[in-house]
Point group: C2
Chain length 96, copies 2
């Protein structure tokens, strides 16, 4: 009855955050262009802006992105530190 390792929990936490097409889309975009506004995404995605906001919040809560106020907009960027951690964890997990 060994307990689950923190590393397993961490990977699962990141994976869960990646577990929706919209969130994959957002991260893909951010890895290409480093930053974006919610409005940019809202134009391109076929979902309500409140739903998008929820997805962004989840990515934020998982630590994968961060928002910076640029009134009246909010500029979203990759959270580089955590993104690196996620890359490392997945790389190891996937034997890449």
């Amino acid at each position: 009855m060994s307990e689950l390792k923190d590393k397993d929990k961490k990977i699962a936490r990141y994976a869960k955050a990646l577990g929706h097409p919209v969130r994959i889309y957002v991260l893909n975009l951010l890895s290409e262009q480093s930053c974006c506004y919610s409005g940019d995404l809202s134009e391109k995605l076929p979902i309500a802006k409140s739903t998008l906001s929820q997805h962004l919040k989840e990515l934020k809560d998982a630590g994968l992105i961060q928002g910076e106020i640029e009134s009246p907009k909010i500029k979203y960027c990759i959270n580089k530190q955590n993104w690196s951690e996620a890359q490392l964890l997945f790389k190891e997990f996937l034997n890449l």
Copy 2:
């Protein structure tokens, strides 16, 4: 209003399957020892066997593992083809 790409959906689908510590644990084990039985896992994990069965089913449904009957046990292995696909997709996605 571009539609989400199939590739994004595929990555999200795999990521979702990875989104629980127990499932990470199982896949980790299977990448080490290639095969295992549900009982092996049940001994090691602090969850009910029915719950484990559910997690295995999810991994199966996502295509990441496959079960082979070896009465009265079931031998679980990585689904190599889909695992390779997942590796490739994540590798690309994560810029590894």
